[in-house]
C-alpha cells in the first residue's frame, strides 16, 4: 500500500488540502490506521500552537550582546593558548557568501570585457616560427606574434607552398576583380 507523504498528512490535518487530494487522503485514511494516527498527532500539535503565542517576549538585543561577548571571550582564550605567532583575523577573508559574491562580480567583469573585446582573429597557435593557412588567410607566426595576409570573401583560393619557407595564396579579389597573390615568409 502506498501511503501519503508527511506533508500531505499534515495539510490534511489542518484542512488545507484541495478537494481532490482531501478526498483521496480521506479514502486512504479509512483503511490505514498508521496514517490515521499520524494525522491525529498533527492535529494535536496544531492545538498547541496558539499557546506558543503566550511565551513572554525574548529580549533579543540582550541575547545578541551576550553572544558577542561570549565570542570575544572565546577568541581571546584562543589567542592565549595559540602556539604560533601568526595573527588571527577577526573573521575569515572568504566566507562562503563572500567568495560567491566575489566570484560572481569577477564573472560579470569577464563577460563584459569579452563582449567589449569582440571576436578574436583566428590565429593559429605555435611557438615555432612557421607559416600556415588559416580560415581566411595565410599567416606567419612565432610565439605570440603573428603576421597574416587575409583574403576574406574570396572564393577558389589556391595555395602555393615553397619548401624554402613560404606560403602563398592566389585568388580573385571580389571587390577589384584583380587576381591577387599574397605570400608570407618564415622568419
Amino acid at each position: 500500500m502506498k501511503h501519503p507523504s508527511q506533508e500531505v498528512l499534515a495539510l490534511h490535518a489542518g484542512g488545507d488540502l484541495g478537494w481532490m487530494a482531501r478526498w483521496k487522503t480521506a479514502r486512504h485514511l479509512a483503511g490505514c490506521e498508521r496514517c490515521t494516527a499520524e494525522v491525529g498527532a498533527f492535529a494535536r500539535f496544531r492545538e498547541t500552537l496558539p499557546q506558543l503565542n503566550q511565551i513572554p517576549e525574548v529580549p533579543w538585543n540582550r541575547v545578541a550582546a551576550d553572544m558577542r561577548a561570549n565570542i570575544r571571550l572565546g577568541l581571546a582564550a584562543g589567542e592565549c593558548v595559540r602556539s604560533s605567532d601568526r595573527p588571527l583575523r577577526d573573521s575569515p577573508l572568504f566566507t562562503g557568501a563572500r567568495a560567491t559574491l566575489a566570484l560572481a562580480s569577477v564573472l560579470a567583469l569577464m563577460v563584459t570585457g569579452l563582449m567589449l573585446e569582440g571576436p578574436a582573429p583566428s590565429m593559429a597557435s605555435s611557438n615555432e616560427p612557421m607559416v600556415q593557412a588559416t580560415v581566411n588567410g595565410i599567416q606567419s607566426r612565432s610565439g605570440d606574434q603573428a603576421f597574416g595576409l587575409m583574403h576574406s570573401g574570396a572564393r577558389s583560393v589556391t595555395y602555393t607552398v615553397g619548401a624554402q619557407g613560404t606560403l602563398g595564396a592566389r585568388y580573385t579579389d571580389p571587390e577589384t576583380g584583380n587576381v591577387t597573390m599574397t605570400k608570407v615568409y618564415v622568419e
Binding site: 603573428a146 607552398v161 613560404t166
Partner: protein, 383 residues
Amino acid sequence: MWNNVKALTAAIVFLGATSLLAQDAAIPPGAVNINLPDNSPLALKSFTMADSRATARGAALALDLHMSATLVNNSPRRIHGVTLRVVAQEVTLGGKGSVTYPSLNVGPGETFQVRIDMQLMRPSQVTGGPLVQVDLDGVLFQDLSFFGPDRLNSRRTMTACEKEAQRDREHFKRILAQAGRTGLQREMLESMARQSEVSQLAVTVKRTGRAVTSAAIAPEHDAEFAFLEFPDSPVKPMNGSARISGNEARTPRIEVRNRSNRPVKYVEMGWIVSDPSGKQYMAGSLPSADTDLILPPGQSARLLQETTLSFSAKGQPVNVSKMVGFVNQVEFADGNIWVPNRQNLDNALLLKVLPPSAEEQRLTDIYRKRGGLDALVAELSKF
C-alpha cells in the same frame, strides 16, 4: 581547499582584469606608411583604411587592417604586374609578406585599385614608427622590363606569371580561331571543372627540423622522388628524396642537371604527394636557394631546403606514400624564364592536381562572372 579557492580567485581576477582592459580603437591612416620611390612609375592617388581596428588583448595588440589604395600609372608603358612588400615593424616583429597583382593591363595615365587585408598580433608595448610599411618591390611592364628594388624576387615571380599568361592567352586564342566560340566555351567549362576538382592540402612549413606531432611519431625514412619529364625543359631532374615521417616531409633534396646551352640561376620543382590510398595532391614547390646557384650548361646541382612540411586535408593528417617531382620554372642567368608549355601540362596527373595559372583563373572568372563568352572574347582581343 582554501589555497585552491585563493588560486582560482586570483586567476579569475586576472582574466577579468585582462578582459576589462581590452580596448577597441580605430587605426588612423598614419599608422601605415606607403613608400613609392620618387622615380616610381606608380603614384598614389588615394588611400583609405576604413574599418581598421586595433584591440588590446592583455600584453598583446591585435590589429585588423583593411587598406585600399588607388594607384595611377605615370609611365609611358603598359603595366602588367605590381608587387608590394608589406612589413610589420620589421625590427620588432619581423613579419614580412608580399602582395602581387599579376595579369594587369594598365595603360599610361590609367588607374587601378589594390586592396591589402592584414591581421597582426604583436606586443602592445612596442612604440614608435608606423605599424605597417608598404613598399613597392617591383613593376613589370608589357615588354617584360622591370622597375623596382626586387628584394622579394618579384621580377622572377611576375615574369613567370606573365610568361604563363602569354602561353594561356595564346592557347585560348588558338581554340577560338580553330573551334570557334563553341570550342572556347567548351574549353572554359572544362577548365572550371578541373579547378573545382583539384584537391588542396593544408601545408604547414617550419624552418626547424622534425616537428613533434602525433602523426610525426611514426619512424622516419627516406622516400625517393619519381619524376615527370618534359622534353623541352632546360633542366633534367636526376634523383631526389625527402625524409618522411607520417604526414611530415623533411629536408627535401633534388639533384638536377642543366641540359641547355645557357647558365641557369634558378630552378623550381613542382612536388606532388600521394597518400596511402593513392589520392594525389600538389604539395608545393622546391626552389633552389636564391643566391647560391649558378648552374653552367651540362653541370649538376642539388636543390635542398632545410624545412619541414606537414600535410593535412580536412583537418586530418595526410600521410605521404609516394612523391613525384617535375620542373616547374627555370630562370637563366640572363633573366629569361622558362615555364612548361600547354602540351607539357596536358598530362593526366598534372591535370588532376595542378591549379590553373593566374591568367587562366582570371579568364575563367571573366567568363563565369563578368559577362560570359562575349566578355571573354573581348578580353582576349585586348592582348
